[in-house]
């Protein structure tokens, strides 16, 4: 029926924002009407949206979905012009474009104990994955890390699907003072960990991966590469995994972290930094 409505209205511009909330100063959560995606999405999937006709295509992980209400939750950090514009949208507004679900879904099975490491806004994509693993009967130990207390997002939601949550902050304003790797190593030394998932800034994933490699723990990382179309067409999101070039959008976004060339990934994330800075400055000047 929903498909029929989309066809007959000749557009699927329902995409209405039904709820919005700032999780921290720079991190916004929006709840968007997208009944087909809410139904078909799986943990690990992402969407691409455009705020306006002249907007960029922005990839965002689906943090969670409500199939009954036909909505999906998206979480974005204000980092540039496009995410600033997204954060300015209000309840009742509609996204100009929304397509998904994209990317390979997380392979979920009963493994044992999962160490789930989330850094900053990376906690958002971590959420649907631990939900999936918890429902499959795994023990979940989550380590959430951020610079300070107000940047720890989705703590309650993460707690819902975790057996234990460890909070790490750089400044010690909440939880234990220290880095994500310290929290993770504490768990690894304490108990048998069967798999690790690391999502967050590239540098955080790199060091988490180095840590788990030392202990021989299989580790998945979910990458937030630069994308244009998100459907395999452009190759902007290419990343070297195990010496081979892969596309984050169709081969990922999750890869074996021990095989990822994080240094190259970080270099590529900076590929448009000058253009982005200039555009951001122009945007701020216009306000």
């Amino acid at each position: 029926m929903q498909i029929q409505t989309i066809i007959s209205t000749n557009s699927n511009h329902m995409n209405r924002i039904v709820d919005k909330e700032f999780l921290s100063e720079n991190v916004v959560k929006i709840v968007v009407e997208a009944p087909l995606i809410a139904k078909s999405r799986k943990p690990g999937n992402f969407i691409i949206l455009r705020v306006s006709e002249k907007g960029e295509r922005i990839p965002l992980t689906i943090a969670s979905a409500n199939e009954e209400k036909g909505t999906i939750d998206l979480i974005a950090q204000k980092v540039g012009v496009s995410t600033e514009k997204l954060a300015k949208m209000e309840i009742g507004d509609s996204l100009h474009d929304l397509v998904g679900p994209l990317g390979k879904a997380t392979e979920i099975s009963k493994i044992g104990t999962i160490l789930a490491c989330g850094g900053g806004v990376g906690i958002a994509p971590l959420l649907p994955i631990i939900e999936g693993f918890k429902k499959a009967g795994n023990r979940i130990v989550s380590v959430l890390a951020a610079r300070s207390k107000d940047l720890i997002i989705l703590e309650d939601e993460i707690r819902k699907w975790s057996d234990e949550v460890i909070i790490m902050t750089d400044d010690g304003s909440y939880g234990t003072k220290g880095l994500v790797t310290e929290g993770a190593e504490m768990v690894i030394k304490r108990e048998k960990v069967d798999e690790c998932i690391a999502i967050g800034p590239a540098i955080m994933m790199k060091f988490t991966s180095l840590l788990t490699k030392k202990y021989n723990i299989p580790t998945q990382a979910s990458l937030n590469s630069i994308m244009v179309d998100g459907t395999g067409m452009c190759g902007a999101c290419r990343v070297t995994v195990g010496g081979k070039t892969k596309f984050t959008c169709v081969d990922g976004p999750e890869f074996d972290a021990h095989q990822i060339d994080f240094d190259e990934m970080m270099m590529r994330l900076g590929g448009y930094s000058e253009e982005e800075k200039k555009a951001h400055q122009n945007f701020i000047n216009q306000l």
Partner: protein, 495 residues
């Protein structure tokens, strides 16, 4: 085939055609030189990304060119056309100044005449088999220019004819992807009375016609008019919808869809897997052209950025390579260079595009191939190592194989590299259907009738061919429409 040739004969024997043939003697026709296409000067056109290079023929020029056509008893030109346009019929209509009828003739078998008149490699198709080429050794009739003239005339006249469609049969059909194969399929199915919905993953309808081919070669407005024409025939378009993902094939079947045509294209860009290829400033032609064409990155109004370069090297010798290198010139590059591993004679690009590129000051480094890239401390490419090549024995494609010359490496300073060495099939749709048979290259396996291993699923265009032309894709679309119609009608009889 006999039905077609009898139909052509019948048309040719119509009184007006017979009269028109008598108007000029054969010699008078063959003595007329081939018309030249008026163009915007290279200095002027390279200032803009969206100024079309070719201006099109005016009425007078078109009529003169049309009168060169001998209206052959056996029009071999049609054999060269993947969608079998009745070429003499439309050309003779131009000669007698019935431009609207000429356009209608085109639209009987082609959903996109204004597009094909601009982007088809006519010199390798209809014009190669023209009587002038094969028998007289003269320049062929400018069939492509005339096709464009008729389609443009109709569009600009404001009196677009809508092809006749059979009464609605109530059968719902899904076309997946909105590029040339799908549009051609949709047009033919609509004519047969089907209820066709075209599903597109991107936010724009048109596939490669929008994201790939630049506006200086194919203006978006031209594509939009052809899309409108399909809409008037009842074809529905849905953007931002990935069949198999947003909703499954089974979901669509439950909604009453009885046939599927997959034309999702060869969206996956190929790279060469040489050292340094992942440095910043090295990207696929797909990325470069998508940023500029689809996302409007050349203009400050749009949020999507594109990297600019002072010295831009484009790797490849096809149409996409020409589109990319000419785009870089328009975005302000001081040097724009084609690096191609064979020689000019083997270039797969349309001759006209290569000529236009040359006029625009594009440099050609033929018989050269990159082997490694180098970058600055930030990871931005700054140098490319080329190896020079020579031509050896012909390979499977019939073209002479490029062979590296040992010790011939040369370093060249570049700050942007566009890799245009081909594409692979997009795995997105096939991966949703594990029971679908695909080749080891990822193309969908189909029979001569474009039917896949799943009977209700037909496929065509680059997802089957792996990387071809607009017109071959359109031919597939027509072929698939005819076969699906036969299949669905047969099924009905068996009920």
């Amino acid at each position: 085939m006999t039905i077609l040739s009898e139909y052509l004969k019948e048309q040719r024997n119509e009184e007006w055609r017979a009269e028109l043939r008598k108007k000029l003697k054969g010699k008078e026709r063959t003595n007329i030189p081939r018309v030249d296409m008026p163009e915007v000067s290279p200095e002027e056109r390279t200032k803009f990304q969206n100024v079309e290079v070719n201006l099109g023929l005016d009425k007078e020029k078109a009529i003169v060119e049309a009168s060169r056509c001998m209206d052959c008893a056996t029009p071999t030109c049609i054999d060269g056309c993947p969608v079998q346009i009745n070429i003499p019929e439309f050309i003779k209509n131009i000669e007698r100044e019935e431009f609207g009828l000429a356009a209608q003739t085109l639209k009987k078998t082609s959903a996109l005449p204004a597009v094909c008149g601009r982007v088809c490699p006519q010199e390798k198709q209809c014009e190669e088999l023209c009587f002038y080429t094969t028998k007289l050794g003269k320049d062929p009739i400018a069939i492509g220019y005339l096709e464009r003239f008729a389609a443009d005339w109709e569009r600009e006249s404001g009196e677009m004819s809508v092809p006749e469609c059979a009464p609605a049969n109530g059968k719902k059909i899904a076309a997946i992807g909105s590029g040339p194969a799908s549009l051609s399929f949709a047009g033919d199915m609509a004519k047969l009375g089907y209820d066709v919905t075209v599903f597109e993953a991107l936010h724009e309808i048109g596939g490669v016609l929008k994201y790939g081919i630049p506006e200086f070669r194919l203006p978006n407005s031209v594509v939009d008019v052809e899309l409108d024409n399909l809409r008037q025939m009842g074809v529905k378009f849905v953007n931002n919808f990935i069949v198999g993902r947003t909703a499954s094939f089974d979901d669509l079947k439950e909604e009453g869809f009885e046939g599927f045509f997959v034309a999702s294209g060869a969206g996956l860009p190929r790279f060469m897997n040489i050292p340094g290829e992942n440095y910043n400033g090295i990207m696929s032609s797909n990325e470069y052209l998508t940023r500029v064409n689809l996302m409007g990155a050349a203009s400050d109004d749009n949020d999507t950025p594109v990297l600019r370069g002072k010295t831009v090297a484009v790797i490849g010798g096809g149409n996409t390579a020409m589109d990319s290198v000419r785009t870089s010139k328009r975005l302000g590059a001081e040097r724009s260079i084609i690096v191609y591993r064979r020689s000019r004679a083997e270039m797969p690009a349309r001759v006209e595009e290569v000529n236009h590129a040359e006029e625009e000051g594009i440099e050609f480094m033929n018989l050269a191939n990159p082997v490694e890239y180098f970058a600055d401390e930030k990871g931005r490419v700054n140098k490319m190592r080329l190896q020079h090549m020579e031509l050896g024995e012909p390979d499977a494609s019939g073209r002479r194989r490029p062979v590296p010359i040992e010790g011939s490496e040369e370093d060249i300073d570049v700050d942007l590299v566009i890799v245009a060495v081909g594409v692979s099939p997009n795995p997105l749709i096939p991966s949703c259907l594990p029971e679908l048979e695909v080749s080891k290259w990822g193309t969908i396996e189909v029979g001569d009738n474009m039917q896949s291993s799943i009977p209700v699923l037909f496929a065509g265009g680059d997802i089957v061919r792996g990387g071809a032309t607009v017109i071959l894709a359109m031919g597939d679309g027509r072929n698939a429409a005819a076969s699906m119609h036969e299949y669905l009608s047969g099924e009905q009889k068996n009920d």
